[in-house]
Amino acid sequence: MNLLVCISKTPDTTSKISFKSDDTEYNSDGVSFIMNPYDEWYALVRALELTEQHGGNVTVLNVGPASNDIIIRKALAIGANDAVRVDLENADSYVTASNIASYAKTKSFDIIFLGKESIDYNGSEVGAMVAELLNLPYVSYASSLEVNGNISKVTREIEGGVEINEIEGPFVLSAAKGLAEQRIPNMKGIMMAKNKPLSVISPTDASQRIKAIKYILPNVKSGVKLIDPDNMDELVRLLHEEAKVI
């Protein structure tokens, strides 16, 4: 099997968020970055499991600057065979998807994996865009995937339940919790990663279609109103009369 896993770099989940340049840019000072958890824990690991079971190759792809190499090396340490980075500083979903699709067109991947969303922009759009650009089926929010020859069976999370899809031939998949279990790279993996191929390619011609013009921090609550634990009727009254939510 020839599998592609697209990975992105996001701030660590514990990061406090702040902005600069008059609130038009994310302030990355002092922030530690990680591989987007959905890409690492679920998409990458399930792809590795499949090649361990059926044989094949896992390529990881990142669209970003040289400072992203650290997460690419981590993906190689976890077990990916080789890596590609499209050398690009800023990209919206469209530019990212165009670059993924333009690389994938030159190869023949059986399945293209992405995380269900990145934990920074939460767009969940890139997978659908890649699928459309390559004219492939797309299964989003996959929580299980079994492959048998040319047929893949995928469980997909929908509101209040799941849907089971069967796909013949290549497709794009976005990975959700349940698809696999997180793997921690071991020392051997980390050493081997240093010698695995990471090729850097030039971006394709695509321009951004949306622009962030302002970031805002959410409203801070004005302070908690404490309620006597023995007076739950009072809490219910406040929820009804003051908050008007019941």
């Binding site: 989940t13 934990i119 865009m129 999370e157 279609r209 949306i210 739950m232 219910v236």
Partner: protein
């Protein structure tokens, strides 16, 4: 130019988020001084009802067919209808299916897209859409710089108001392109509002001590008609199914009321829930960080407080 809304149904009934996008699209169309047209795909009850929320026309595609969702064929239908009606703004709900199509439609229509809009667009020199980013830790305003736009709207963004009347839908027949994807089966829980659509949510964490104690949470939820949720450690320990996990790496929600019992309020949990309109926190630890993000707090033993709250809600409901 026109606004086109895609209205999703489930088991032949229009979803709550379907009426929300109908109203959202109508409001936007009014601001843009144009019409809002709606699109339904497959067998749907009461297909004219989006008219009540201000849409001026409903196209009902393959009204007599039970169709299974496939982002490839559905997006083709939406793109076709949008072209036929010169629609330049497409609105979808930010549901599993809506999200699977937002990016596809953006490519098909050469449109700029924003998924998860949390309010109506601001229309001045730019067309500006805001959404929650960094998993709820911030909000961004995006200017969409293309003539065509595709927007998916978060559930509970807008409370649909009845501003019109049911209309007679126009039936359209489309050959559904065959694809290499088949839906084999769909399994959904009956009678419970899914978390992303829920207005009331009761959630619990490690403070519950074990899955066998969840009865009091379920009773509180049922007294309110709320949906149950849980924190990540609870889902990771398999005390509750993982689709109940709300937070940064689970489901992001924005209910009107979020009640959290026995959840300390780690930053990753807050990220997924701090768009809730009102937050009630029940915790025995007065230093729990969640109290800082709460509107109402009760300090004490949840095993005593939760049943008392259930009883108080039942008394309230009887009046």
């Amino acid at each position: 130019m026109a606004v086109l809304v895609y209205i999703e149904s489930s088991k032949g009934k229009i979803k709550k988020t379907g009426f929300e996008v109908a109203y959202y699209g109508s409001k936007l169309a009014t601001s843009l001084r144009t019409d809002c047209v709606a699109l339904l795909i497959g067998k749907t009850e009461d297909p004219g009802s989006p008219g009540k929320y201000g849409v001026s026309k409903v196209f009902h595609v393959n009204a007599d067919q039970d169709l299974e969702f496939d982002s490839q064929s559905y997006a083709s239908i939406i793109a076709q209808i949008s072209g036929d009606n010169n629609a330049d703004t497409i609105i979808l709900a930010n549901t599993a299916n809506g999200k699977a199509m937002t990016g596809r439609l953006a490519i098909k229509l050469e449109a700029g897209s924003v998924s998860g809009a949390n309010s109506l667009p601001e229309l001045n020199d730019d067309f500006v859409v805001s959404k929650s980013v960094y998993s709820g830790k911030a909000i961004v305003k995006y200017a969409i710089e293309t003539p065509k736009k595709v927007i998916s709207v978060m559930g509970n963004t807008i409370q649909p108001q009845i501003i019109g009347e049911s209309i007679v839908p126009q039936n359209v027949t489309f050959p559904i392109a065959s694809t290499t994807l088949k839906v084999l089966e769909r399994k959904t829980t009956e009678g419970i509002t899914p978390l992303p659509e829920a207005e009331l949510v009761v959630s619990a964490g490690r403070g519950m001590k074990g899955p066998e104690n969840w009865g009091i949470i379920e009773e509180l939820a049922s007294s309110l008609g709320a949906t149950t949720a849980c924190s990540r450690p609870v889902a990771d320990s398999h005390w509750r199914p993982h689709h109940e996990h709300v937070g940064q790496t689970g489901v992001a929600i924005r209910p009107n009321l979020y009640i959290a019992a026995g959840i300390s309020g780690a930053i990753q949990h807050l990220a997924g829930v701090n768009n809730s309109k009102v937050i009630v926190v029940i915790n025995k630890d007065p230093e729990a960080p969640f109290f800082k993000a709460a509107d109402y707090g009760v300090i004490g033993d949840l095993f005593e407080i939760v049943p008392k709250l259930t009883a108080a809600i039942k008394r309230f409901k009887q009046h």
